[in-house]
């Protein structure tokens, strides 16, 4: 009888040892994630001014459109507060800013989101004519993949260097910030503002040294 009991305990222990799935991993998925990335060769001392649109780009099931409402105004204002904090001055697009800032909201996607899928730079050159027409933003670094069909309500902030846009057709995305799933309806406005501040704090858009 004792032998049987021992066998049962042993088999139970082995089965538990074999069930090596990362159970606690799921618990880490429910928390806010912020990612910031900047270009290796970007020299942020060259940048002093930026322009940002009042509206933000919304991506939903492969469609992109612009939204301008009270919430987007608050988001844009919080981003401006942070950029001012790091010494950047807001100007209108016609004043030839050093940086253009675009904000995207991935409301829902059923597709794989490759870097740049969400950006809406076309809107910029449709809204403000030459000299931006025809340029091609690119990422001079590899982007971590944090947007998938499982994520909804992610906020993306991107800054492109347009100091040489008149002579160069390609302009680099020099800073990228992502707050994953912050706009999925489960977070407060305070958490939204705090996470925007956080994405700037973990890797500010300035030179490291």
């Amino acid at each position: 009888m004792k032998v049987r009991l021992m066998l049962i305990i042993f088999v139970g222990a082995l089965v538990s040892a074999c069930s090596w799935g990362p159970g606690a991993l799921e618990e880490t998925r429910d928390q806010i994630l912020t990612v910031a990335r900047k270009g290796e060769n970007a020299n942020f001392t060259n940048y002093h001014t930026f322009a940002i649109a009042d509206s933000i780009s919304v991506v939903e099931d492969g469609k992109k459109f612009r939204v301008d409402n009270d919430t987007t105004d608050l988001i844009v204002a919080q981003i401006v507060v942070n950029l001012n904090k790091y010494g950047y001055t807001q100007v209108v697009p016609e004043e030839n800013p050093d940086l253009l800032v675009d904000v995207s909201y991935i409301k829902k996607t059923n597709t794989y989101m490759y870097p740049g899928y969400w950006d809406d730079w076309d809107w910029w050159w449709d809204s403000f004519d030459y000299p931006w027409y025809g340029w091609n933003p690119y990422y001079p670094y590899q982007m971590p993949q944090f947007i998938s069909s499982y994520t909804t309500g992610s906020l993306i902030i991107e800054m492109v260097d347009v100091t040489n846009v008149a002579s160069e057709q390609s302009v680099p995305v020099v800073w990228h910030g992502l707050v994953r799933e912050i706009l999925n309806g489960k977070h407060t406005q305070q958490e939204l503002f705090a996470s925007i501040d956080e994405v700037f704090e973990i890797l500010p858009p300035k030179n490291s040294k």
């Binding site: 032998v3 021992m6 066998l7 042993f10 222990a13 082995l14 538990s16 040892a17 074999c18 069930s19 090596w20 990362p22 606690a24 991993l25 618990e27 880490t28 998925r29 928390q31 806010i32 994630l33 912020t34 990612v35 910031a36 990335r37 900047k38 270009g39 290796e40 670094y141 971590p144 993949q145 944090f146 998938s148 499982y150 994520t151 994953r180 956080e198 994405v199 973990i202 890797l203 490291s208």
Partner: protein, 211 residues
């Protein structure tokens, strides 16, 4: 009468010794399957510090003398731990602030030499040492993002244990052993420096002896 009893006792004990010497240890091979628990020690605790209960060990020993056995040992271990929100910097131009799930999967494989102190007793105690290699795969999982590295190292493992048969006539029973793994695996994943991997391990399992 006392003298006769004394002579008989001496004769019986001599016969017993002679029998034991001629019969010897009749076990030729031992196979064992064990559940293994590992307690990480040293710098590997900086990556995952929790005790690992998800381990398995398979062992084979072949007797080359009555007391000495050589064999092989392979295993699998899965160390894992959840961490609250913290900044992970894969390089100076990237920062990811999120909860982390870290795990390390290790595969030790080693040749072993075991010395059985009491191979003829009911409980067979042994001590041994294993030399081999350890493969360690380390992961930092942040939601859909998985940063990982894999490394190999030289492995050395002293071990002590006992075999306890389930009855006098049984050629199978319980194996209980404990040891220490030390390997030269190194890693800097997530800027967490691991100079070597060390752990105390405990095996509990079943063995089968072939005669």
């Amino acid at each position: 009468m006392k003298r006769i009893l004394l002579i008989m006792a001496i004769c019986l004990s001599c016969a017993g010794v002679a029998g034991a010497q001629s019969y010897g240890n009749s076990m030729k091979q031992i196979y064992s399957l064990n559940w293994q628990v590992n307690v990480p020690v040293g710098s590997s605790r900086d990556f995952v510090s929790k005790t690992n209960f998800e381990g398995i060990d398979i062992n084979w020993a072949y007797f080359v003398t009555d007391n000495l056995a050589v064999g092989l040992d392979i295993g699998y271990n899965n160390y894992h731990e959840k961490f609250s929100q913290r900044i992970y910097r894969p390089n100076e131009n990237t920062a990811i602030n999120a909860a982390q799930y870290r795990y390390t999967q290790t595969f030790p494989i080693k040749a072993q030499v075991k010395y059985f102190f009491t191979p003829n007793n009911f409980v067979k105690a042994y001590a041994g040492v294993g030399l081999g290699a350890l493969s360690a795969g380390q992961h930092i999982v942040i939601q859909d993002f998985d940063a990982w590295d894999n490394n190999w190292g030289f492995l050395m493992s002293p071990e002590v244990g006992v075999l306890i048969p389930f009855g006098y006539d049984n050629n199978w029973g319980a194996n209980i052993s404990a040891g220490y793994n030390w390997s030269t695996n190194k890693s800097t994943l997530g800027n967490i420096k691991i100079d070597d991997r060390q752990s105390f391990y405990f095996n509990i399992g079943l063995y089968l002896a072939l005669f």
